[in-house]
Subunit: 313 residues, 2 copies
Amino acid sequence: MRLSEIGEFGLIKSFRKQIKTDRSVFMGSGDDCAVLKLNSSSYQLFTCDMIIEGVDFRKTDDLKFVGRKALAVSISDIAACGGLPRYAVISLGLPKNMQVEQAGLLAKGIFDLARKYKINIVGGDISACAKLIIDVSMLGEVKKHKLCLRRGARPGDIIMVTGSFGGSIKGKHLKFTPRLEEANFLVNHFKINSMIDVSDGLLQDLGHILEQSSAGAVLYESLIPLSKDAKNTEEALCSGEEFELLFTASREQANKIIKSSKYGFSVIGEIMPVSFGLRLIDHKSRYSKFSLRNGYCAEARTGRSFKAGYRHF
Amino acid sequence: MRLSEIGEFGLIKSFRKQIKTDRSVFMGSGDDCAVLKLNSSSYQLFTCDMIIEGVDFRKTDDLKFVGRKALAVSISDIAACGGLPRYAVISLGLPKNMQVEQAGLLAKGIFDLARKYKINIVGGDISACAKLIIDVSMLGEVKKHKLCLRRGARPGDIIMVTGSFGGSIKGKHLKFTPRLEEANFLVNHFKINSMIDVSDGLLQDLGHILEQSSAGAVLYESLIPLSKDAKNTEEALCSGEEFELLFTASREQANKIIKSSKYGFSVIGEIMPVSFGLRLIDHKSRYSKFSLRNGYCAEARTGRSFKAGYRHF
């Protein structure tokens, strides 16, 4: 059998079975970051993300934005866990015939964003490679009581998001600002029960929260904030690499978050018991039910020809 | 200008100029690992290494060994700093038409070695990629007084190595055992002034120690331990990916290390003042002088068609 048949999720599951970790690991693979015990008050966050020419960006894209994206994707993961990014190492696969100025643009994109977020670039590795590849590994820190994982959603929680969704491929996937400020505002002032960044797609990533929290959910189509590039709600629900935050909090906390209105947080639904499954209520109050087992957006995903595969394990 | 003209070292230098780090970074880019302040007694080590099909291994190589190598390269970096490996995250670029069993072999190579060295694999990222790519980022720990860097060599230090050199491309580059046990034996019982793992080649990596220590050195051709796969001493001096340890210690400490004779450590030369440069004394007591500025093994390196580029920055 080929990888294209079993799929990334199948492969990831078979890998996970073989992994054993010791007690210094609070949370291993399966969330936006690994969570390692650091000291009595804090955890260390550890994540990696690889972006590849022709898969995650086009050969013709401005390399300043490509470098920026490589770092921003990992910052988004740290943000989704409620932490602050601190250190990064970067592996580069560079084509031999690349112009030095192009490599300079790539570096500028990386270093400018690192400076903005006070991230120490502490090392790297350069290899010759036919296609441009950038892999960023990042370390962050989070106070124990601020840590957000996927597994904490509870029936009755209100489901909220930052920003708007849809059509990320038209530019946002390359130029997004990671929602670090929003994430830190949330964990500093409220009790967030679960959080994830939307890299696979809103439905898919909500599915990760539901799976790990053993919960169901109801979403209201009319509440999904659509970006100007969105085709329609269906596309917005399945669009990958939106890099918005998807999070849940108790009704009481959600009320306070909405009242704070400091950032554009939107309510999109509610966490339900697992037996409820995942249902989407449309504009005419009809509902569609999605299977938790078979994954979401199967059809929509095949349309994402540009984004051929991008998964955490 | 193209990258192939400026070269990896030129690019790395221009990158380094743009990097600023805060006081939590004891040592940023420029050594085998980055060294981060962890607590009052220990540092954290952070390193990454990317290996690419057609550059660092052949498409026909046993993927169990490829996976093993991906992890072993980073373990070797941690060892060279005197530390112990603890955690790793792994980014994989996998061809879509790869067989699932092949991916399983790759994973087995990684997980078996991780188990042997008690390394926690805590996460990763899978992308679709035309060529197989594995990038490992590893965290380690080292007691402050055991940390070894490249910059600590002093005139009068004896230069020593583990194992033997030459012809790594015939198999050792894929099947080597990282010298973690030897490195830990050294830092636990002796005062090691500088250490590096030989990935670029013995002369080249000694050059890194000399550059960062502002020192010169004399090497004795007759003392270079040749492996059974070595063509000759010149090849052994330039062969990359040997993954042996190259280290220096005072004469007194060196005597004790030799007497301990627990592992096969060999004396190969002596650290000299920087004005002495780097000289190789041949079997007939003639010496060749190498330029520190222009790099070593320029000729030999062009012969390394397989190992097209592999550098830390």
